[in-house]
Symmetry: C2
Subunit: 333 residues, 2 copies
Amino acid sequence: MTYLLGIDVGGSGSRVALRRAAWVRDVSDVSAAPDASRLELLGDRIGVTAEGSTVPDAVLALIERAAAEWPDEFAAVEGVGVGATGLATLVERPADLVAAVERAFARLAPGRSVGVAVAIDAVTGHLGALAGEGGVVVALGTGAIAFGTDCREVWRRVDGWGHLLGDRGGAAWIGLRALDAAVRAHDGVDPAGAALLEAARARFGEVLTWPSQLYTRADRAGVLAGFAADVARVAEGGDPVASAIIAEAGAEAARSAIAALDPALPGRVAATGGVFGAGGGVAAAFARALAAARPDVELVAPAGDPLDGALILAERAAAAEVTTHVPYVWANR
Amino acid sequence: MTYLLGIDVGGSGSRVALRRAAWVRDVSDVSAAPDASRLELLGDRIGVTAEGSTVPDAVLALIERAAAEWPDEFAAVEGVGVGATGLATLVERPADLVAAVERAFARLAPGRSVGVAVAIDAVTGHLGALAGEGGVVVALGTGAIAFGTDCREVWRRVDGWGHLLGDRGGAAWIGLRALDAAVRAHDGVDPAGAALLEAARARFGEVLTWPSQLYTRADRAGVLAGFAADVARVAEGGDPVASAIIAEAGAEAARSAIAALDPALPGRVAATGGVFGAGGGVAAAFARALAAARPDVELVAPAGDPLDGALILAERAAAAEVTTHVPYVWANR
């Protein structure tokens, strides 16, 4: 019996999953069902400091915890797949992370050869949502990215630039725009944001304290994203400013999906991430905008999440089927 | 002969000035002309880290340098005025900064009693621009704030919330919106930002490197603001997207000024800060928007800069004419 380890590191938390390697591909073989032995551990959210991203620390901490939690299975791991936010832009050399994972296994499971692949979270999200098939996956979590790929020839990334440069339609983006409207109401510049001001005060306290709560935090994107759930609730209550922000988030996601849809890919799009499920109407606005602009494209339900994708990546890494493709995926075989 | 020390700490640099106390108010007395003995030292730009703002460090460093540079005059200082960015929101207790300045003088000029006042930079900007008179001053530097005050009864602050929450129309705000347009062009979402993409590449290099240049920097507002000059140049070249951002910056500043114009204040507005002088049309757009909304308000040229205002604050502190008014000004007398 051999095992696969999948790790998903995101702005709002990180997870590790272990499952039996489904080498027997016959779905009638219940013992090989992918989720039969899947376990999850939750880790910390990721921050960005003057020293760079904390992604490598988070990955190695989750590996340590997996080794402690599942000692027998860990010793039989054949493949590790890691999907991480901001990997390509914030981690100095992602190949070093591959090597660090290898070293961790050499220490924790000596004498074992392990296939390792690390990828940006858009790749693992894609693998999970389309079950390894080609097409576009748009992910709205804390951040936002659309990725059009077949994981072989075509690699078209759109957005994923973080809360200052883009992440259009993501939770931090929603939170930022809602706080802008709230502050305008507070300043007496535009009263339209009054309901959002009330919601923001309920979450963050008095306006004068907001800058010190935000600018001094390494995980400010996560703080901003936390407000998106309140915005969805205010929108559901009928507030026009909150509703417009939510609708625009869906429209932004549709624009990104369309830009990622390389003509060489199947006309297939899946929408993933907490923002689509959080209510308030982002999913409906996205579907409307996509259908209006590209009626030929099929919107499919996601087959799995980024952690499923990390396990698919782990399986391919174990079989030496992953080729390094900078700046999306890095493998050791 | 006694002296005044003024300190201006901003997002893009900090300065200290020394001048003779103009106790003889007769303008025909040339020896008492305010700028006759004014000297300036430049300090570092301010950053925000997980430990909070670096404002207190910058202030104390400039005091040390002033004492070293001007030993004789420093020993005869009677009043210190400090204007600092983000003081009210990012410095834990501004009153502690007053005490720290007092302690620095007790060490560097022992036995001397010094009047100390520290204020948010909007107050020193106001004192400088309107020469101590009442009205509204809107400042567009790295950040943006409008302040309506008579420095006695009326205190109406609008904006100054930093690059994530507001600073509408400031240089970081301009830089952020321009980078948004540039990234949309890069992503294939909207080609309209092509000229801004070219300008941003010339400044920051390839797009994939932008997040690591931005998110890991403590002075990210300064980095964003640095791009505003390029945006103004692209706008002057006729690019419609850059021109729209510049025009909207002026309109935002006008909205803030109007919101700050308490009915109890004289209908007088001054526009200050590097953005107004940087070309591209912000000043013209501001004047147009202000005149359209409030034709009754007089737009006046600034009499002086925030460092002049810090010296006026120092003069009032020396004369015990400054009363602490949280969260705008803190004094030791």
